[in-house]
Amino acid sequence: MSIVADAIEQVRKQTQHLYKKIDESTSHRNAVGGDLKTIASEATLLASSVKRLAQDQRAGAQVHLQKAAARLTAAGIAGATLAETREHMRDALQSISQAVAEVRHG
């Protein structure tokens, strides 16, 4: 696997991990301000990684990664509710998954 392909796989795993964390907060209804802040800052970091990755991709994967970066950026905006953050993260993950599929199955 190339370094770039490996980087997309990594970013997908990180996004899945963060989404799982949001799911757990949602199901336990115990998300507090601190959790949301952490999730938002992790989403912002992921958005930067995805933006950088998008630059090195072929058109198909690039479009998906650009969409994902936009959604991750939205998830990182302060003041978003848990439900809004979850929706942005879910969309971001879908787009990253599509980018991974593009790279794997072309």
Partner: protein, 191 residues
């Protein structure tokens, strides 16, 4: 190719193994799973979605979108019923929604049994009998082989429809994605 797959098993346990096997294929890069869940048809024909152990009952209610997805997987007859079902359950209760999803598959199976439309035998293959469980998933795959080989070894029967074909010909609500977990999980049916 982007596909929706339904892999039907005789027991919940087999379906749980089938779900993990699907994600293992993803880990190896053989396929890409965009979302997957385990569903179960109980003795009354109601369909439930298995949630995570620490997610009690949150997503067991089968909503309109997943009802349409199940109908679409069942073919044109199922699609039509899925659309009708979606409209009728918009404000339904959990039991009502489950019943509609169950009816989608029940009626589809009946249509095949009745032999009213020869094509239906081919088009409406996906049906779950009471007591059976299935893994449903949205996947990208270069070939059918990895999923077919691994899931058949576990006792599953694989049904597949192209995503483009379904989206062109049927109605989906926006909520079906909420029921397909975008990561591997330990499925659990609420008692």
């Amino acid at each position: 190719m982007d596909n929706y797959v339904a892999i039907v098993f005789n027991t919940d346990e087999q379906a749980f193994q089938g779900l993990h096997a699907l994600w293992n294929l993803d880990d190896r890069g053989d396929i890409t799973v965009h979302g997957a869940a385990v569903i179960h048809r109980d003795a009354y024909g109601h369909v439930d979605v298995a949630t995570k152990n620490d997610d009690p009952g949150v997503r067991t209610i089968v909503g309109t979108g997943i009802g349409a997805l199940l109908g679409a997987l069942a073919g044109p007859v199922g699609s039509a019923l899925g659309i009708a079902g979606a409209a009728s359950v918009a404000a339904g209760t959990a039991a009502g929604i489950g019943a509609v999803a169950g009816n989608v598959m029940g009626l589809t199976a009946d249509a095949v049994k009745a032999g009213e439309h020869e094509e239906a035998v081919y088009e409406t293959q996906f049906a779950m009998k009471t007591g059976q469980a299935a893994v449903i998933a949205e996947v990208s795959e270069s070939s059918n082989e990895p999923i077919d080989t691994v899931e058949q070894r576990l006792g599953g029967t694989v049904f597949r429809r192209a995503k483009g074909e379904i989206q062109d010909s049927s109605f989906f609500g926006g909520d079906y994605a909420d029921y397909l977990y975008p990561y591997d999980y330990d499925p659990h049916f609420a008692a």
